[in-house]
Symmetry: C2
């Protein structure tokens, strides 16, 4: 359905949300009034009132775009979300399930019968069912698979057999294929007979009888060339196609670079398998970057704002437990130097600075490397240049910050030897930080792992413990008699 | 120009890059050989060799898509980038300048004369010139403005008068406008006469004589309805339009939700001002999320991988200096408690754990809030629910982690009183962390500031100092006689 004209404004959506909440609250209030009132015709009145509000809610939601309903469900606390969902789960043929985040989708699916789910999913396209597949119970999935026709089942299997990071996982099947021996007039007649084009159709795919890609026919060419011309003469033969098992991130970069709207996906025999559209690429980029941000902050995965407290807690404990381990490990180094601290207690308040500054500098370096790796800017021909630059930067930053910290600690403690140890330790730990900030993401990338995952935790653990070790070690060598 | 078929693979691009580097190296080698050889005809030979390699480079680049050239320039160290740019700066009419990052663009523009820049910019569209405007010297910009025709100048001024975060800053002017009293046949004839459509044309805009929006005519309808029908009968009148001064992030969310390809941008009188396309939205989302990631890691702005060391250093010093200040400030609290540490030195190695765990938990909370604010999921109706949930989570996490840390420190020091102080301090600091992690982004958002900026630094400063204060304060109350 067409999104309503005003719906794109966040203010409008918030007003809608307010309305929904008011309706939900009224329904609950009146139910409780009925329950507290005389028991005469209790069930009848309740059912009547409930029906009345359900009808109003249903009417409201039926006028809304599935994506807007999704937005409202995301913003509703669990209990209200459940009430609202009960009213609308059969509206829009399951489209709403596609528009919410994974975390919210799980809360919605939990409240549905296997039978209901199978009916809803049956109305979706193969690529849409594939989006839901991970969240559906296995039994429901089997039921759905059995109910599909063979073409749809083949499409669904094609997507499900791809890994999440492969292009095949993002493709859909809304492509229009034509033969190259027709003329444009026949093509236009064919489209007119179809009555509508799949969304994001900016080009038709020209294939031979074995489904091998021959070329693409942009709608623009269809519209601007004389109708009597043959497809073969008008089609573009040098075009971008993607391999079904290629890395999805590579496709995302290609869509950004060449401003694509849709592109064919082929197998190793150049046979057309599906199509990739910019809307799925947009979702992919949003998900990937959100994931990177959350990982950076130590949150396991996308979280439903209103998930139960226990679920959220479990999602965050993973990193927190790792942090406890690394924090204890790095501070054990302080334990070794307790005698030194007793002799010069100023060390206790200076040492966290060395550790913290190391972590900060290391994170700067590693984030730039992670981002450049993601954009594909780092390769064997420039890597040595890059390492040299970051090391030089580490030397400069180390000297600069080392001198500043040396001066500041002299102002505090009026102890030249202590200030020199402070400055030198800072200098050395910043070099360590740069080396680690370069090393971890590059190593992880080389070994085929996501360079973003875990880098920050490992880096901080190393810069913390090295910071304590270098500072207290230098102090024990040069400050303590 | 059409991107080449193979160009979307990163392997292909890396091979291209290798070739370019080899050519550049040959050129330099032969130049130095000539310089070291006998001085006979020195300049002539050098010029000949240089020309030969330049021609080969130029040929290579002229076959490449501007975006691919941009990729190669991003991956080339400064000196090589400059040599390559000298060869190709007039190719592709300035398109390459649009395809590189801001940081790299500055290095390219630095090497060009004002005259050259004006000529190149003159060939671009108004929205493309606007993209360059921030990086062009003022004098050059004036020269360009004078050379434009009045329509292009009006367009350019319309974009430049918008702020970076407004929709107007992202619009282009490649829209095709039609009147509603024509029939579809006339529109098709008109398009055929135009000979080509601007990229991303999925709909035509129907306006009246005052340029007021009447409706949109999707190409799909143009292709599937009988040619004899009037535009007025076929056009869609309930469609999404954006206000020129609306928040660009809102447009991005609408493009994601409704899978738009293009949409009209209007002023407050509903007059058509320009159009918004998904390619610009994609760039906007990429830039915004990259910025968030870099800010999170304390890097000022997007950085050219190969910028001079001094420039990179300046870009990173801002946050590092702020970090020095906050690190010193929070550790001053330790200084106050030095006597306590002397009496119980175990405190010195336990206190960094309290501080670090507080920072980690606070960052988890704040990142989820920042992300939910960015997606528009938080609003007055659910905020109290959300705060309650995060506080409950803080209580649970605090008890859980408090107990673990208490146990671990008992294992290390066999001191029950110390373990209880450790656990309690952790519990209190985790509550502080949740409050601060909630408070800072919500406050900044309420005051109309970007909730992502600076949150992590302020949060860590508070959880560090509060961590030290709570732990050492409790220790001085309960552990020291």
């Amino acid at each position: 359905m067409q999104p309503s004209e005003k719906a794109h404004s966040i203010q409008f959506l918030e007003d809608q949300l307010q309305d929904v909440i008011t309706l939900l609250a009224k329904q609950q209030l009146e139910q409780s009034l009925v329950q507290r009132g005389p028991a005469v015709n209790h069930e009848l009145v309740e059912a009547m009132l409930k029906n009345q509000h359900q009808a109003r809610l249903q009417e409201k939601f039926s006028l809304m775009h599935p994506a807007d309903i999704g937005f409202i469900l995301e913003s509703l606390p669990l209990a209200q979300r459940k009430t609202a969902w009960d009213v609308i789960k059969t509206l829009h043929d399951g489209q709403v399930l596609l528009e919410v985040s994974d975390a919210v989708r799980q809360t919605l699916i939990l409240g549905m019968e296997a039978e209901e789910l199978a009916i809803v999913a049956g109305k979706l396209n193969a690529d849409e069912i594939a989006d839901l597949a991970a969240d559906l119970p296995k039994r429901t999935m089997l039921k759905i698979l059995r109910s599909l026709n063979s073409k749809k089942r083949k499409h669904l299997n094609a997507i499900l057999s791809c890994q999440d990071n492969q292009i095949g996982a993002l493709m859909d099947f809304g492509m229009i294929t034509i033969r190259d021996d027709l003329n444009l007039k026949a093509i236009i007649a064919y489209i007119r007979k179809l009555g509508k084009l799949p969304s994001h159709t900016d080009k038709l795919f020209v294939v031979d009888q074995y489904d091998k890609m021959q070329g693409i026919l942009p709608l623009q060419r269809l519209l601007t060339h004389p109708p009597s011309q043959q497809v073969a003469d008008v089609m573009v033969t040098d075009f971008i196609r993607f391999q079904i098992d290629q890395d999805a991130a590579e496709a995302a970069r290609a869509f950004e670079r060449y401003n694509l709207i849709s592109a064919p996906v082929v197998d190793s025999d150049d046979k057309l398998q599906g199509r990739l559209c910019v809307d799925n690429i947009l979702d992919f980029i949003r998900e990937k970057t959100d994931e990177d941000l959350l990982i950076q902050a130590g949150v396991g995965e996308e979280e439903d704002l209103f998930s139960s407290v226990w679920k959220s807690a479990r999602n965050r404990w993973g990193w927190l437990l790792i942090n406890i381990v690394t924090a204890f490990a790095s501070t054990r180094i302080i334990g070794v130097f307790e005698d030194i601290i007793l002799q010069l207690v100023a060390l206790a308040s200076l040492m966290p600075i060395i550790a913290a500054m190391g972590g900060n500098t290391g994170n700067q370096t590693s984030m730039l490397i992670i981002r450049s790796l993601a954009l594909g800017y780092i390769n064997p021909s420039n890597i040595s240049h890059l390492i040299k630059k970051e090391l030089t930067l580490g030397l400069i930053n180390g000297s600069f910050i080392g001198v500043i910290l040396g001066l500041l600690s002299f102002l505090l403690y009026r102890d030249i030897a202590l200030s020199i140890v402070m400055g030198s330790a800072m200098f050395i730990n910043l070099l360590v930080a740069v080396l680690v900030g370069l090393g971890i993401p590059l190593m992880r990338y080389k070994w085929g792992k996501d360079p973003a995952v875990g880098t920050s935790v490992i880096l901080t653990a190393i810069t913390d413990s090295m910071g304590f070790f270098i500072f207290l070690g230098l102090a024990s060598l040069f400050l303590i008699k």
